[in-house]
């Protein structure tokens, strides 16, 4: 939450995301405390709300406490969303559609897996692990978890997606509905000045370039050398696992300009037929064929094959193909991270003031896309590297994962190395919870130590578990090593006993008396 001094009694309040990870213990209670505190602090009026991207851990607060917004306990003036959420934008619609399709496939896979795991017993360990990974990712989109006992309901297309809106969808709907105005922002936007203040926001991401949107891992070395890429062929996987949802036209559209399963060419063919690489007439249906009988019938052409396939259950591959869902889920997830709205706030004179950088969950492709960007304000040309050099507060990208804080782009130094020493890093993370989750290596050890060095220990973590960091006291004090920055910890506490939030104040350079406050309400 940011407060920009206006010189009047009422600063401009800007809230970036409001959510907590669903695995977080007492997360809901915690969000309650945060929202109550927000209301106290702002008088219930939020001038701007930024919803960075469609992930549950960034939006759950809006949906879970919709009542607060419905009843105007908290009122919204303007909502900022990334251009990727704009239904009026064909490219955004296409992205959304492929996201929905991927989700439908994950949904169907998770159901199939739940069923297999239940019947396989200990053999199904791997599948169970996969199922929980998929379920995790589904839940980032606010989908309800699938209980393991649940029988497969793949035959029931209504069980697919698109019926009840997920929590993230509800959150975005709510924001759009309650806000007086909704703005969709992209890198093409000019810097936005906040009226009555000397502060402006630069929009860095999400990129417009689709290849950048889909780039989430470093491409030097390992990425280039991999044998097979995980991105390819997922459409055909999705088609196989959820033919019904797709045939029913989830997200069918006619304006697809690049190839995807929904494009015009494919609409002319029978989608169902496409599920079969050789057409539906070739071979026997596995589901209805009695393999045992085939095996027993010595003259049948399939006899030998059926016999061998029946003989050793542990060597069958009935569900192995579903592992591809892992790649699908990862892709979906990373692409969604890359649709994060990335903002830099500049305080003071254009080209001179201190910068607060909010990277949301943006990953490699997003960073790379704005690494060469510049803006024109008056006669001044401001580059993204300039902004980084002046960054004094950095909301660390993606809970400090390995691929969301860059060190270089195309061999050129970019990202963290450019920021000023002593930069205050804000890391919303709960390492103990993260350790229990597959794929969550947060904070990533290498990056974390780099951050610690760069910030000279000025790192604020929402889990407060690193004793080596400098921690603000309850009274205002100077941030060590950072020029003119001050900070303090809140008197209110979380259930864990650590402060509910930290507050940092950044002076407005040109008007020395006016201070600008920035609360770190570490919801997200």
């Amino acid at each position: 939450m940011l407060a920009f001094a206006t010189g009047t009694q009422h600063p401009k309040y800007l809230l970036v995301d409001c959510g907590v990870h669903m695995s977080q213990k007492y997360g809901r209670n915690y969000m309650r405390l945060v929202l109550d505190d927000l209301r106290r602090a702002t008088g219930g009026r939020l001038d701007y709300v930024v919803a960075t991207h469609e992930h549950d851990d960034h939006l759950s607060g809006f949906a879970n406490f919709a009542e607060d917004f419905e009843s105007q306990k908290l009122s919204l003036n303007e909502v900022w969303l990334a251009w990727t959420e704009d239904d009026g934008d064909p490219a955004a619609r296409r992205l959304k559609r492929s996201r929905r399709r991927a989700l439908a496939a994950l949904d169907a896979t998770a159901r199939k897996l739940a069923d297999s795991a239940a019947t396989l017993g200990s053999e199904g360990l791997g599948f169970r692990a996969l199922a929980s990974r998929l379920d995790n990712i589904r839940q980032y989109f606010g989908e309800a978890p699938i209980p393991e006992s649940r029988r497969a309901s793949t035959a029931d297309p209504a069980a697919g997606r698109g019926q009840a809106p997920s929590r993230t969808q509800r959150a975005l709907e709510l924001l759009k509905r309650k806000a007086a105005a909704t703005r969709f922002l992209g890198p093409e936007c000019a810097p936005i000045k906040f009226t009555g203040t000397n502060v402006r926001a630069y929009v860095l991401g999400p990129p417009r370039d689709e290849s950048m949107l889909k780039k989430s891992d470093p491409s030097s070395g390992p990425g280039k050398e991999t044998y097979l890429t995980s991105a390819a062929g997922l459409d055909s996987f999705a088609l196989a696992v959820a033919p019904d949802a797709l045939a029913a036209g989830v997200g069918a559209d006619t304006d697809a300009s690049s190839f995807d399963i929904d494009s015009n060419r494919y609409n002319e063919l029978n989608r169902h037929e496409l599920c079969f690489p050789f057409g539906s007439a070739v071979g026997l249906d596995l589901a209805t064929t009695d393999m045992e009988r085939l095996a027993a019938d010595g003259d049948h052409p399939y006899a030998a094959v059926a016999e061998r396939y029946q003989a050793e259950a542990s060597r069958r591959i009935d569900d192995d193909w579903l592992y591809a869902a892992d790649a699908l889920a990862l892709n979906l997830d990373k692409h969604t991270n890359n649709t994060s709205l990335v903002l830099a706030f500049e305080i003071g004179t254009p080209g001179q003031g201190a910068v607060l950088l909010f990277a949301a969950d943006a990953q490699v492709g997003s960073w790379a896309s704005w690494s060469t960007k510049s803006w024109q304000i008056g006669r001044r040309n401001i580059t993204s590297a300039d902004l980084l050099r002046r960054t004094v507060v950095y909301k660390v990208g993606h809970h400090a994962s390995h691929n969301a804080t860059l060190r270089q782009v195309d061999g050129r130094e970019f990202g963290l190395p450019l920021m000023s020493d002593g930069v205050v890093g804000l890391i919303p993370v709960d390492q103990h919870t993260a350790e229990k989750l597959p794929g969550w290596d947060m904070p990533a050890p290498e990056l974390y130590s780099a951050l610690r060095t760069k910030s000279r220990g000025n790192l604020l973590r929402s889990d407060d578990i690193d004793e080596h960091l400098t921690v603000p006291r309850r009274r205002w004090s100077d941030v060590p090593g950072a020029e003119r920055l001050r900070w303090r910890a809140s008197r209110h506490e979380k259930s864990s006993g650590s402060p509910l939030y930290y507050e940092i104040s950044v002076p407005v350079p040109t008007a020395g008396s006016r201070r600008l406050k920035k609360d770190v309400e570490d919801g997200k």
Partner: protein, 698 residues
């Protein structure tokens, strides 16, 4: 149908396959050579599938919920027409191609190794609660098992799974955008995957990533086999020699792997290229240049594997150049510089012959070296030493300088062993045992007659059923062993097998007989291993000679006197393998391979991202090459269980990988948390390696 009394039983079967993959069909240049006729071993009892002695093709496609009709290669029409003609739309052709390419590769390995290929065994918990080793007669091939851009070897299932997918390239010149791509129609992908399976059958521990080279070696080696197989495909080589005018250093499809695949995933070129690659933006091809510092900067299995491939291919090119230099001089009136324009067809033939000769000699060398590897923690350096030693054994006189060329090229790419003082053919060879070591070997190993039985009993051993050695091996037990495996007199028992007819029952019989042959091999070798274990184990009870213990450790790297109650230091007779090889000079050579291994559990300190401690296995082992005729030890190639430096290196490597790849990588590096029992979750190690995937989260 009656048997064909007057017809000779065929020895070979010819089948058509794609030399590359279907993409070449539409390429005017490549299309002419894209159909290759593979000449594979005739199998009597080949069932529809095909299901043969070594592999079984089971064409279920669970993603589509189908099982496709199996091809019956013994159908008269197919026998008369070299099998099915290449076709993307006919699953039976896919089965035929996977089978044919797999069998060709298997045969290549058998030639070089001098024994039958065996698949890795399955370990399952039996009724007694102990792990039971189960013989796996056939590798299973699922041509349409996955629906993704991947193909992998599954050690648990003992199966190759091939995927198919919709291409994602957007440029129609690289193939139909969105068109179907079948990995089982790529010659290179099939060879690559089956080589993984064969390697795993020989050295199961090679899959354990204990240093940066292990997984990389698996990958690189599989690529090398695929590359060298290009040279054996009839027609293809001639075409390329003619096109490049004999200069194989130019951009050539011989050095490309998986073209269609690379295009379909949007790379605009082959998936992997051994001698050079195209810049993806400018489209210009450039030759790879050796850089010895690259190896230290490349840690990922595929990247490191690619360096190995590049080194091997450079050596090949150097040897080829040397081999054909006289031909080029002859053809150019002594200048060695060919005139402009196409070269004479005769010259093409002769150049191709030479290229093929060099390639096949090198492939043999590379495969043969596998028997000279230490059983655990293999590095590139070890492989290099194994390669040179094996080759000196097989070809004492190296007139063409193969060994020098390979050493040189490896050095240029920064590949060399860290444990030799100088680099030369001589110093790279594994050291032969000293007199004391020889004496120690005679002292603790069974007498020569036992070793000879193990080496020779093979084909002619009487089938006396199961043998279980007594718990204590004394002289009586040795006699029992010798009697059990006595050789039958081939003269007396010779029986000319009638060629089977083709009634289903007769085919079943032939099928079963073929299956039994390799199973008996396997069983025998297992019984030898049990016997040898018992024999070595008695040392523990006979003497408590601390000096002997030390000497055994120093020579074989194994602690035979480890405390019996201490389960972590039990030793294992991992394998006993007889091999019979025909040397290039026409002589036969016999070898008895004995592999001993041992393991310990160790702990990585909890420095890894503040997590708990991790437990890993540290292994030691020794490969013994024994000359069964003299009963003497030829080599003892060891990785000692007490090598502290090696253990620390392994620990540092594991820690480094987990730090770099995240905690989720721990399972891949076979680490488990202290306190938690190692969970046997199916890992499909090759699936992940191939995807180059790392965990990620929202």
């Amino acid at each position: 149908m009656k048997t064909f009394a007057h017809a000779r039983r065929p020895t070979r079967r010819t089948l058509q396959v794609f030399a590359f993959d279907p993409s070449a069909e539409l390429d005017l240049d490549r299309a002419r050579v894209n159909v290759a006729n593979l000449d594979i071993r005739w199998e009597d009892g080949l069932l529809p599938g095909p299901i043969g002695e070594y592999v079984e093709v089971i064409d279920v496609d669970p993603a589509s919920g189908r099982i496709y009709p199996p091809v019956d290669l013994n159908e008269p029409h197919l026998l008369a027409s070299r099998g099915l003609a290449p076709s993307e739309g006919t699953p039976q052709f896919h089965q035929q191609m996977a089978y044919a390419v797999a069998m060709t590769t298997i045969e290549r390995f058998e030639e070089a190794l001098g024994r039958r290929v065996q698949w890795s065994t399955s370990h399952q918990i039996g009724p007694t609660g102990e792990y039971e080793t189960q013989f796996r007669a056939r590798l299973r091939i699922y041509p349409h098992g996955l629906r993704e851009a991947n193909a992998y070897y599954s050690p648990d299932k003992n199966a190759l799974l091939f995927g198919y997918f919709n291409a994602i390239n957007s440029d129609a010149r690289d193939g139909l955008p969105g068109g179907l791509v079948f990995t089982c129609l790529s010659h290179d992908v099939i060879v690559h995957e089956i080589t993984h399976a064969i390697l795993d059958g020989i050295h199961p521990r090679l899959m354990e990533p204990t240093n940066p080279d292990t997984l990389a070696f698996h990958e690189g080696f599989s690529d090398i086999v695929a590359l060298f197989q290009h040279f054996t495909l009839p027609g293809l080589l001639e075409h390329e020699i003619a096109r490049t005018r004999g200069d194989l250093e130019q951009e050539s499809m011989l050095a490309d792997l998986a073209v269609q695949f690379g295009m379909a995933v949007g790379r605009r070129q082959a998936l992997r290229r051994a001698i050079g690659s195209k810049d993806e933006t400018t489209g210009r091809w450039s030759r790879l240049r050796a850089d010895p510092s690259l190896i230290d900067r490349t840690q990922e299995p595929h990247g490191r594997g690619a360096l190995f491939v590049a080194a091997v291919f450079d050596a090949f090119l150097a040897l080829y150049r040397a081999q054909v230099s006289d031909l080029l001089r002859l053809a150019s009136g002594g200048t060695g510089i060919l005139p402009q324009g196409s070269i004479h067809p005769d010259l093409v033939t002769r150049l191709s012959e030479d290229a093929r000769k060099v390639a096949s000699r090198m492939l043999q060398m590379f495969i043969r070296a596998l028997d000279y590897l230490p059983p655990v923690d293999v590095t590139y350096g070890d492989y290099m030493r194994a390669l040179i030693t094996a080759d000196v054994d097989a070809v004492p006189q190296d007139g063409r300088g193969y060994r020098a060329a390979i050493i040189n090229s490896f050095q240029n790419w920064g590949i060399y062993p860290r444990d030799v003082r100088t680099i030369s053919v001589e110093s790279l060879q594994w050291s032969t045992p000293t007199r004391e070591e020889q004496r120690l070997f005679l002292q603790i190993f069974p007498p020569p007659e036992v070793l000879r039985v193990m080496a020779f009993a093979d084909e002619y051993a009487a089938d006396n059923g199961d043998y279980r050695p007594a718990s204590v091996i004394d002289d009586d037990e040795i006699r029992r062993f010798l009697a059990h495996f006595r050789r039958i007199d081939p003269q007396k028992h010779w029986r000319d097998d009638e060629p089977p007819g083709y009634t289903p029952q007769e085919r079943r019989n032939a099928f079963d007989a073929a299956a039994r042959r390799r199973e008996r091999d396997f069983e025998r070798n297992r019984q030898y291993a049990r016997f040898l274990h018992g024999y070595l184990n008695r040392l523990r009870y006979q003497s408590h000679d601390a000096d002997l213990r030390e000497r055994v450790l120093a020579t074989f790297g194994i602690d035979l006197f480890g405390d019996e109650s201490d389960r972590t230091r039990r030793f294992e007779v991992h394998a006993v393998r007889p091999a019979l090889r025909i040397r290039p000079d026409g002589r036969t050579s016999y070898d008895l391979l004995v592999i001993l291994t041992q393991r310990e559990k160790h702990r990585v300190d909890g420095e890894v991202a503040g997590a708990d401690d991790w437990i890993y296995r540290f292994r030691g082992g020794c490969t013994l090459l024994i000359d069964p005729l003299s009963g003497r030890l030829r080599y003892a190639i060891k990785k000692s269980i007490t090598a502290e430096g090696r253990r620390l290196r392994q620990e540092a490597f594991l820690r480094g990988r987990v730090l770099a790849e995240g905690r989720d990588a721990a399972a891949r590096y076979r680490l488990w948390r202290s306190g938690a029992e190692a969970q046997r979750v199916s890992q499909e190690p090759f699936r992940l390696v191939h995807l180059g995937m790392r965990g990620a989260a929202p």
